[in-house]
């Protein structure tokens, strides 16, 4: 949320994507987050992913809850409608919006307090319903706007800036999403753009519930020794299972496959995920295996990142509801009112 509009100056030589848009067309207002905030790196990755995918910016609806993370939709995709809703309730607003118009891309942005504390219920139910969306958790384990209280993703034993030790067990939103049936589950690190951008691209193309948990250190309240969500800690404990390249069905395939450590996953719409495996035994199509892998590494104090699970034939809420192809918000009385003759019949049955 900013008072300052970003200048609309375009350098003529800025690279353009397939639709003729430049990076600038995917930017938003100037961020008012603290200098060095991990969230701003995520914003940059969202912009990059949308540019690379050549999405029409106005065909995205960006919806958030409340908190530092939930402010970020103002900082990207200026031409999109945004909705800064209620703390912890982004999933329900997004679900309703998605039901109204199935043709837009839904980008839900939330934080760890917004998702795992106040909004844990709505997060869980949106995942189990399979709402077609990209759900990004900008996860720093701490409440920023209210100045440094622990959130539910703070690890047990981690230390707050004021020196308080967190005695509660933490919630791992990735583990939860896997258990609840999300069809695309990934984790990344705000400081690892190379990993994060392809993940966001793949999640956007994925036609189901896609969760990306992005560890995003809070420079103000959670970047000190004793924190398990600081830049240093995450870099030291990051265990990447794979590196992702992403090829849309529209783009020419230019990525050179690395023999032996590469797996190509074709998504339902024809787009391809190219998984460069860091861990040779990792299978991103095995939900139960992913859960086991995650827990085993968590026990060793490692933060597993990468694409942890993907279902290449996902179903979404509209599939379950068997809704018409036309967006529900585009229908008029002609399609929706059954008419007076039908009502007369109903009247007759009530006598």
């Amino acid at each position: 949320m900013t008072y300052i509009a970003k200048p609309k100056f375009h350098h003529p030589s800025l690279p353009k994507n397939a639709l003729g848009y430049t990076h600038r067309d995917y930017e938003g207002k100037i961020s008012t987050l603290c200098a060095g905030c991990g969230h701003d790196s995520i914003t940059a990755s969202v912009i990059e992913a949308c540019f690379e995918l050549a999405i029409e910016p106005h065909r995205v609806a960006k919806i958030s809850g409340i908190g530092c993370s939930s402010k970020t939709p103002d900082y990207f995709l200026n031409a999109s409608h945004g909705f800064n809703s209620v703390h912890g309730r982004m999933p329900s607003v997004l679900t309703g919006a998605n039901l109204a118009n199935r043709d837009l891309i839904y980008l839900g942005v939330s934080g760890d307090g917004d998702t795992a504390s106040i909004g844990f219920g709505q997060f869980a139910h949106a995942m189990r319903r399979g709402v077609n969306m990209v759900y990004i958790v900008e996860n720093n384990g701490v409440y920023g706007l209210t100045k440094g209280q622990f959130s539910a993703t703070a690890d047990r034993g981690s230390k707050s800036k004021r020196g308080v030790i967190n005695a509660d067990n933490s919630i791992d939103v990735v583990a939860m999403a896997l258990q609840l049936g999300a069809t695309f589950v990934a984790r990344s690190f705000s400081g690892d753009k190379e990993q994060l951008v392809p993940l966001i691209r793949a999640a956007i193309e994925h036609q189901g519930a896609a969760l990306i948990d992005v560890i995003s250190p809070c420079v103000a309240f959670n970047n000190h020794a004793g924190s398990t969500k600081s830049f240093d800690y995450v870099r030291e404990h990051n265990e990447a299972v794979n590196r992702l390249d992403f090829i849309t069905s529209r783009a020419p395939i230019t990525v050179a496959y690395e023999a032996g450590s590469v797996e190509v996953v074709e998504q339902h719409d024809g787009s391809k995920l190219v998984l460069k495996k860091v861990s040779a035994d990792y299978d991103a199509h095995d939900r139960i295996g992913a859960m086991t892998f995650l827990q085993q590494h968590a026990a060793k104090g490692q933060i597993v990142t990468g694409l942890l699970y993907v279902d290449s034939e996902p179903e979404d809420l509209h599939t379950h509801f068997n809704t018409v192809a036309t967006p529900l918000n585009a229908m008029s009385e002609k399609e929706l009112s059954p008419g007076s003759a039908a009502l007369d019949k109903i009247n007759a049955s009530l006598r």
């Binding site: 409608h81 945004g82 309730r89 109204a100 837009l104 139910h125 319903r129 918000n329």
Partner: protein
Amino acid sequence: MPTKAPISSVNDFVVRFANVNGSGSASANELFARAVLRMGIPVAPRNIFPSNIQGLPTWYEVRISEAGHLGARGGTDLMVAMNPQTWDKDVASIEPGGYLLYDSTKPLPPSRFRDDIHVIGVPLTAICNREYTDPRQRQLFKNIIYVGALSALLDMDVSALEKLISEQFKGKEKLFDANKHALQLGRDWALLNLECPIGLRLKPTDKVGDRIFIEGNNAIALGAVYGGATVCAWYPITPSSSVAEAFTSHCRRLRVDPETKRNKFAIVQAEDELASIGMVIGASWNGARAFTATSGPGISLMQEFLGLAYFAEIPAVVIDVQRAGPSTGMPTRTQQCDILSCAYASHGDTKHVLLMPEDPAEAFEFGAQAFDLADRLQTPVFVMTDLDIGMNQRLCRPLKWDDSRKYDRGKVMTAADLDAGKEFGRYLDVDGDGIPYRTYPGTHPSKGAFFTRGTSRDRYARYTEEGAPYADNMQRLLRKLETAKNLVPRPVRKNADKSTKYGVIYYGSTSPAMNEAIHMIEAKGRPLDMLRVRAFPFHQDVPDFIADHDYVFVVEQNRDAQLRSLIVNECGIDPVRLIPILHYDGTPITARFIAREIADDLEALKVTPLRKVVS
């Protein structure tokens, strides 16, 4: 021999069935009520049921009134006492000279009866045990047998009953035969062993006309279908669940694309009321017509979101089927107790639009109109019904729809408008009515996008925390409320034949009892002008009506005189002039209650003349 002469009445009495819930009595009792209706006699049935599935007391009251009084009357002329748990209370509630029908299989000592009522014993259990071996059948057919006995006792047209049974079991011959047989068993036993008919009798007439018999929840769900709702998000809560359930079944019949077999609706049973209203707001923000149905506790849970919708100016339709209090128990009883919590729902300075239908027919109309109003005013609209309207079948005029009617989608700027150079400011009051223009997400590649927030923004939806734009916006919201006053359904005024200093204001389900009470009060030589309030914010007619009278009674079904408070607060009325008439024990208000209370108060006003207050 009873000490009181038996009540004698044709087509004007109250039958009450006392049953155990889960015993299959509901369908037999409804069969009785419908049969009376088929004889052309108006009936008003009411369910009084517990928060329970099996084993607790439940009552079904059928008021039969050729004069067409559909409110609860109070008192029972014929009690069908089938529940030993409530026997004493049930027997005690019979009017002197009234009748008691009971299962006389096991003898009861005289002390369990009253000597001023007429006792009719039918050995229901004995008949069932003789006739059926299956325990389930013994239980179910017992209910049909007492309906059969009643048909003889009340001199009913048995063909009406048989026709209803044949309609109910169309294509299921075996069930039809079995039910018809049970009906005949009861009727034959009564004709052979009892003096038939008793003083209460049913005589065919033609007072029903083309009216229909429908529950308010069903009617309001149809209103939502006709009004163009495509998204429904809800969480089960008595007494509103059947709104969403009826919407679902109507949509399955009326809203499936005939070619693709795909649905022109999406219904989510959400995880709670917070999610329900969140989905409604998300869908409405994105241009669909969406609603939720709930009751008081759900309204409490939705408070934060309702504030967001008010300030962010997002349409939302909330159907509140009001009930008494929190938790379980009393919640299956009726009240009008959410008026204030809905009118002022949420944090900050908020005021919301309320519609108050009097019966299912109006619930249908308001149910459809709510979507036009929500879109036009870009704000939450509450349809305030209650358990009495919602969960009882009520005789009302047929539902009507004008095929030339167009939905009012309100002020929505399209891509063409934006390309034509129309200035877009999301919170800009272009027309001076307080209502700004909005755009749906995805409308235009470069124009019309905005960031939705609660407050903290200027007329162009740009972020600001400054005081002046905030105050400016709050003033505009008040202008919008002024506009709303002339868009919502106007109050209905009905003056007495003679001029009077006294008036009465009432609303919602109080209507039928009030319409009956007015005659009782007038019969005592006390004319009253009437104003039925149908919406909030109040139309100018409301303060005008009060100004026309010295004193105005405000009749409501809650403890705190909530509508009266709202009138005092919003219209700046001296409270002394508004006399509350309050009924809040969970039973529907009766004409007898209203007439007695108003008559007493009028007496007091006459004895102690109060100075005329001018406000």
